[in-house]
Symmetry: C2
Subunit: 241 residues, 2 copies
């Protein structure tokens, strides 16, 4: 029974619960604040913002706290220190709002996870800030459905290999469900595993940064949670073939 | 062999490597910056700073990023928004320096962990920011000595219970080595486990916030890494008695 998918991983942000929308609206508000100081129609400024953000990810990692520090630094740099302390305080508040946003599940996701759990071990594999992710898991009401919850700092091949080793299985017996080709699908398929790709209506620019192409038909794309169980059946058939 | 200590956990910050000194020097520099705006001889201000920090821990969790956001917010509040953007930028830089500080091991700690590993499974159990802790583990050169590395958001009884369950052992068979009575010793002993308390020369105010008293002689205090192996032998004798 080596060609059976026995373990299924679910991503958290924008797979189980809404997330990116909160970041994007914080970012929009951030741009309105600094737009009072500089002309954001200037595309070079936009590029500089994104460049600062990417540079800071290496130091801060993912998540709302890193984003907030990065926004503060960008705001100071881009306004050449003209921004007021009270506007910087507004930016801190934006970060706090992202950290405290309510955890809202995608419609139908609970039923989808339950359906998958009838035939597979299910685990939650999410990346980002440990403290914030734990808060979201706790408030999602889904924690009990998962055999294990793994919070990692980066979703790359090494991270998946470690998780699979701890769970005593192989990539060939593992499928990952998520909204990011870069973080949820590509590294798993590279290792020889399977992917259920469920795009979310907005994607962080950083997560679209992949040239992944599914050459071996290891991925099925679904429109929403109700398609997940069927996609796994399809992948299972391919695995057994 | 139920009365054998078979698993030994090591704390990271200020047990394996120096940490608190970097935070304290950042904090000292932070006070010099805001001391240009307000009179810090006023003890009420000091109390307000600590109060803001503790309030923010609930939202930000532990670690350098949370501390930096908290310092920024405190600086803005305490100066009533009079602080300049460039001074706030200096505070961001303080946080970055803490995140990027070199990982310097306590003298003799490698040998101490190796000695313990001859007779026990050893694991690293550290709390704080996932990204920063992983960076420190990777740069410590000690990762290979540990059977498992667990980074948790809070070191309380629940966290230790989870870790021990995953490692398939009981508190009675577990000893924790660390510099914080509150985080490393008290919760483990509460569960019925054992503690090797190795005080560090500076302790974060938050970590001294405990009324723990070792009523059952489950703790041995040591002066430094060279005392750890002997302390475990002593605890083992007590466990077997």
């Amino acid at each position: 029974m080596n060609n059976v998918i026995e373990l299924v991983g679910f991503d958290g942000d924008d797979t189980l619960w809404h997330s990116e929308g909160y970041y994007q609206s914080a970012h929009g508000e951030f741009e309105r604040i600094i737009g009072e100081y500089v002309d954001l129609a200037d595309l070079r400024l936009h590029d500089r913002l994104l460049a600062t953000e990417r540079r800071n990810i290496k130091l801060f990692g993912y998540g709302a706290k890193g984003m907030t520090l990065s926004m503060l630094e960008s705001a100071i740099e881009i306004t050449q220190s003209r921004i007021s302390a009270s506007d910087l305080h507004r930016i801190i508040e934006l970060g706090k709002q992202v950290l405290a946003h309510p955890v809202e599940l995608l419609p139908g996701i609970r039923e989808a996870v339950e359906a998958v759990a009838e035939h597979h071990r299910v685990v939650l594999i999410t990346k980002g800030d440990l403290f914030h992710q734990e808060h979201k898991v706790a408030h999602s009401g889904l924690a009990d459905l998962f055999h294990r919850i793994e919070i990692v700092s980066e979703k790359d091949e090494r991270a998946y290999r470690n998780v699979l080793e701890e769970l005593a299985t192989t990539p060939q017996r593992f499928a990952m469900v998520g909204n990011s080709l870069r973080s949820d699908i590509a590294p798993v398929v590279q290792l020889g595993g399977w992917g259920v790709y469920m795009p979310y209506h907005v994607t962080w620019a950083h997560e679209t940064d992949t040239d992944f192409i599914d050459q071996g038909s290891h991925v099925v794309q679904v429109e929403g949670p109700s398609g997940i169980a069927h996609a796994l059946t399809e992948l299972q058939a391919r695995a057994a073939a």
